[in-house]
């Protein structure tokens, strides 16, 4: 049952991701990206990471994609402005990184396969829930959490500096 759902959702995820890059209309691309992000959230649910799943939708699908859409709508590029002439360097690096990513994927799969425990194991009932994440975040991972605020501060200042030329 779970495997069946995993199969369907991952097919949706892969197809949506491919459609993101083959679409000519950037708004449609963005829509498929939203669909892909939602499918990813369902994968998190299957892994029992419920908190991560809802956060994925709130932050990625609900907030970051709004910004993406705003940018696409503002630039409002027409076909002639895209500049489809193929640059040699672009193509070279594109292929290079594609190969690198494939190699990385292979390595990750190989390592992952060897790590699957052969016996059944049980999880803490609140695994992936808010309680356990809260406990871990505010005791063991306190420093990274506090540093996040500095990161967010930098982002705020950066946004203002970028958006407002004349301050």
């Amino acid at each position: 049952m779970q495997f069946f759902i995993f199969l369907i959702v991952s097919i949706i995820l892969v197809v949506a991701s491919i459609l993101v890059i083959v679409q000519r209309n950037p708004v449609v691309s963005a829509l498929f990206l939203i669909a892909a992000l939602c499918a990813q959230a369902i994968l998190y649910l299957l892994l029992n990471a419920t908190f991560l799943a809802v956060i994925q939708i709130i932050v990625y699908a609900g907030a970051i994609m709004v910004l993406f859409l705003f940018v696409i709508m503002l630039l409002n590029l027409r076909k002639d402005e895209f500049g489809f002439e193929k640059r040699k360097a672009q193509r070279f690096f594109g292929i290079l990184f594609a190969i690198l990513l494939l190699v990385e994927l292979g390595v990750v799969i190989k390592i992952g396969l060897s790590k699957i425990p052969s016996t059944e194991f049980s999880l803490d009932p609140d695994f992936g829930g808010v309680q356990s994440i809260g406990k871990a975040l505010f005791t063991d991972y306190l420093l990274p959490f506090e540093l996040t605020s500095v990161l967010l501060l930098v982002a705020m200042v950066g946004a203002i500096v970028l958006a407002k030329k004349k301050l």
């Binding site: 029992n48 709130i58 503002l74 808010v130 309680q131 505010f138 605020s149 967010l152």
Partner: protein, 118 residues
């Protein structure tokens, strides 16, 4: 797991189905007598001028970016709120520091007038 997610999935399927049926129904039930003037873009009855999809103020992006930043901040507050009773004073100080650093950013934004719409 099944007991939790199946009803939600069922609701999603039903609502999606309903939405598509409604769109299709109105397509087939209503008469369609298109004419050039009827299909033109509405602009208070005068001939539409130029393209609607022009450029718009950078303010909207700023709002979207600030929204993302504050959204992430709130996301940290949820697990904190749920375990707050166990963390007690310690939790208050932790979140106090976190929010204080963000408040500096907030006052910077306000001072720079980024949230003022002239």
């Amino acid at each position: 797991m099944f007991k939790t997610y199946f009803p939600i999935a069922l609701l999603l399927i039903l609502v999606l189905g309903m939405a598509f049926v409604i769109v299709l129904l109105s397509r087939f039930l209503g008469r369609r007598i298109p004419s050039k003037d009827k299909l033109s873009t509405y602009e208070c009855g005068i001939e539409p001028t130029g393209d609607a999809r022009g450029r718009f103020p950078v303010k909207f992006f700023l709002i979207a970016i600030l929204f993302i930043i504050f959204d992430i901040e709130i996301v940290f507050l949820y697990p904190w709120a749920v375990v707050f009773k166990k963390l007690k004073v310690f939790g208050l100080i932790e979140m106090g520091i976190f929010l204080f650093i963000l408040l500096i950013g907030y006052f910077y934004i306000v001072k720079k007038g980024a949230l003022r719409w002239e």
